[in-house]
Amino acid sequence: MDKPKLRVATTSLAGCFGCHMSLLDIDEHLFELVGRVAFDRSPLTDIKHCGPCDIGLIEGGVCNSENVHVLREFRRNCKTLVAVGACAITGGLPAQRNHLDLGACLQQVYRFRDDIEDAAVPDDPELPLLLDKVYPVHEVVRIDYFIPGCPPSGEAIWKFLGDLIAGRTPRLGHALLRFD
């Protein structure tokens, strides 16, 4: 009898979806993957909220209140939570604002511009508020595993998931461990 499929959820917080693109880069392994896992909440399925899952993959750092809610939803529902890529693990490119004043950043982007009349920093309650800094995901919830890279190669993601699905402690090894 076939083993029951593992449920996998994925999301991108303050990221560029590059890590998701890398997941798609596993090419023909995708067939193998969908044979062994079923996707829950993910940009691939458009399911809006995460149910109980075996594995959660988080791309991107935590830059705003919505990121916090999503990350916590994943942590509540995923037995194994994995930080994928430089932004999730270090804050990455978005965290390059961390030494700048948040107010100055927002004024620069929204206020001081010639192309919009009455330019102002948006205050719509629908918009998530920015945190003072962009945080790596492991500083907001407990994270079980990390796949570094910007993005991690499809090969690295496949090796990692393959290990995880097979029940081995995931290990990238020297060749697949990359920070850039």
């Binding site: 965290a95 500083e139 020297h174 461990l177 850039d180």
Partner: protein, 234 residues
């Protein structure tokens, strides 16, 4: 008769005055290091080269080898501690590898690969360290400094200029340059100085030559630092 000690269970010969690290390297054994450099006296600050000798932790770059010593280096215990030291270095600075031109040629990064460091584990300090682009040929990006003092030593002891020094202390310690303005452009620093070509990480960078090598052909893309360092005598 030559003197010997045991390195991870294997006999290693040494001459009087040789440190554990030197003798081990001469015998073909790599010990991780960042502040040690073959052209300079031992410094002992990064502590990546810690080994256990006779059950005690010591800096292998600084401690002279002794007859009959039993040294443990490439063990899960020592490597776990070294990985934690790397993690400390990663969180205290701003090490954003994807935008760093030293990526692929960086000893800190290569050691993180060597020791399979997938995360910096601790909370990041995100310090504010402005860059200094005042010099015509060289950029200083202090975000990546690991305080190995190789530039300090090279400029003082080889170039005879003392362009660099450390000031303040503890976690606030930082690099300064030899000018009242604090700008590298106001010093006699030259791109041909030894100090300009010794940084193991991405602090001291030549302008206009960044990202010259494509990913795949950089120093540590093909082989691990433990292999490269031994081959190239670093």
């Amino acid at each position: 008769m030559t003197k010997q000690f045991l390195f991870d269970g294997q006999p290693v010969e040494f001459e009087d005055g040789q440190t554990i690290l030197e003798a081990a390297r001469a015998a073909g054994h790599y010990i991780p290091h960042l502040c040690w450099h073959p052209d300079f006296p031992p410094h002992g600050s990064c502590k990546l080269c810690i080994v256990k000798a006779g059950g005690r932790h010591v800096s292998s770059c600084a401690l002279p080898a002794r007859e009959g010593m039993e040294v443990e280096s490439n063990t899960p215990e020592m490597n776990a501690e070294r990985r934690a030291l790397l993690q400390m270095l990663f969180v205290e600075g701003n090490h954003f590898c994807p935008s760093c031109e030293k990526s692929g040629n960086c000893q800190l990064q290569a050691l993180a690969y060597e020791l399979e460091m997938a995360t910096a584990r601790f909370n990041h300090f995100f310090p504010d360290r402005p860059v200094d682009a005042s010099h015509p040929d060289v950029l200083l990006d202090f975000n990546r400094c690991i305080f190995c003092e190789l530039c300090v030593r090279a400029s003082r002891d080889v170039d005879g200029k003392s362009v660099f020094a450390l000031t303040d202390r503890g976690i606030h310690k930082h690099l300064v340059v030899n000018a009242e303005s604090g700008r590298l452009g106001d010093t006699d620093f030259s791109v041909d100085d030894r100090a300009a070509n010794i940084c193991p990480v991405g602090v001291i960078l030549r302008k206009r030559v960044g990202f010259a090598l494509p990913i795949g052909s950089r120093k540590y893309d093909g082989a691990a630092i433990s292999v490269v360092a031994m081959k190239e005598g670093e």
